[in-house]
Amino acid sequence: MKTSLYSLRYVLGSAVNGLWRNRTMSIGAIITTTIMLITLAAFLAINDTLNQMVSALGRKSNLIAYVRDDARPSDVTRIIRDLQGQSGVAEVVFVTKEDALRIFQERFTDQTDVIDILQANPLPASVELRMENPAILPSLADELRELSDTFETVVVPLDVVERLIAVSNVSRVAGTVMVIALTGVTLFVVVNTIRVAVYARRQEIEIMKLVGATDWFVRGPFIIEGAFIGVFGATMAAGAMVALYAQVGPSITQIISFLPINTNVAYVRSLALFIVLVGLVVGSIGSYFSVRRYLAV
């Protein structure tokens, strides 16, 4: 018990000494960790933003279901309520016959006479959808077409929708692949840096073993050093990220004010926490494995 307490103190003191006395390596490793994690965090944030942007663009796309003049208003109301509850649908707008006429007149201001000569308003009322997830548009359109008592035609500007779906799929897949790849790269580079730092101190490890140190006695300080490098690098990365978000976030939100970009504190905080956790785990595990091969003395 006493022994392990003393050892704990030794491990911590030894780790601090190790970091300080090998500071060229330590600083190199910390800076590498910092910038790799900043890169990763920035990429996560940008990927997230781009995904949101693409989804938001998709939301513009719509489905228009023209309502039969003889449809039952209660049916229409019910369907609209159903649609509003449907996941993937962002907004449901009901355009009355009068609205349709007004829009038509606004568009063709110089041809009001065309309409004026008609006895009745020839334009139908319509239900217009703005989508959260344009991918479900085709099937939704089919469903609505079945309701032929209510709807005359269901128009889906299909080419735009397809393009948006394709773009958003590609960008989502590309983003996910890049996030995974960049995470891998970050882990690899950080671990490699630690590996090289440990390699440069392999003789220390051998000497300690020859003097009667257990594997854990040797490993301990190295793992703490690695953890410290990871956490310190990650904290600097997280700090830089939070600062950047505070600076850049609002101006992005302003430029594309119509898009609900995530710049809220909770999201940034959890991203920062995640980054620090990654640093801790990668640093300590990286050290553990880096030291291992030199322990076989």
Partner: protein, 226 residues
């Protein structure tokens, strides 16, 4: 008891030990001499289980050391104090930390360690340089630190590879006296050396090696320099 029976060792084809048989009793003091490249260091490294060997048996206190693994190896090495020919001080640890390492490794308290470090540094006259780093010491001072580290844990077996190299003759004599003191407490002591004056003065057992083999084993040996 250290017993070597027909021990051979090659480094990538080069024979460094060939059919070495020698035994050293518990508490004995012996010199290991021989030309450069005779195999003295190799023999000591085999005894510390730093280097594996190819043939033969090495018994330490009746245990075949080639079978020792893992935690037992750590325990085995804690019985041994070694002065390495190339000192092998931790470059990034102070003199105190280097000397105290064998005790730290054993989980001793900071107070115990620093008391022991002070005592042993006093014996090699390096107390005032306790907070230096190895490269801030002269060559002889570094070797004294290496010696201090080897003896601080009061090992059962003391292996000294050229302990008086780079050491002024006056201090060299003091160091040998120190080793004899320690040996008098029952510590089996093996000293590889090129210092003919010391060997000839002491008239102790001398094992002379050449080309990887034991050439002579003299109970009251002399170091013939011509």
């Amino acid at each position: 008891m250290i017993v070597l029976q027909g021990v051979s060792k090659t480094y990538e084809g080069f024979t460094a030990l060939s059919n070495v048989s020698v035994s050293i009793a518990r508490g004995e003091f012996a010199f290991l001499i021989g030309t450069n490249g005779a195999g003295k260091t190799t023999l000591l490294r085999v005894l510390l289980r730093e280097e594996p060997f190819d043939q033969g048996v090495v018994l330490v206190n009746g245990v075949d050391i080639s079978t020792i693994r893992g935690a037992s190896l750590t325990k085995f090495r804690r019985k041994i104090g070694m002065v390495f020919q190339d000192t092998r001080l931790l470059p990034n640890a102070t003199v105190s930390e280097n000397v105290g390492l064998p005790l730290k490794v054993r989980g001793r308290s900071n107070r115990d360690v620093s008391m022991a470090v002070n005592e042993v540094l006093k014996r090699v006259a390096l107390l005032e340089k306790a907070s230096r780093f190895p490269k801030q010491l002269s060559g002889g001072e570094q070797r004294k630190v290496a010696l201090a580290r080897a003896i601080i844990s009061r090992p059962e077996i003391l292996l000294c590879d050229e302990p008086t190299d780079s050491i002024n003759p006056l201090h060299a004599r003091e160091i040998i006296e120190l080793l004899l003191d320690i040996n008098a407490d029952g510590v089996t002591t093996l000293v590889a050396t090129h210092d003919s004056d010391i060997v000839n003065d002491l008239r102790r057992r001398v094992i002379r090696m050449d080309a990887g083999g034991v050439l002579e084993d003299m109970a009251v040996g002399v170091f013939n320099t011509s």
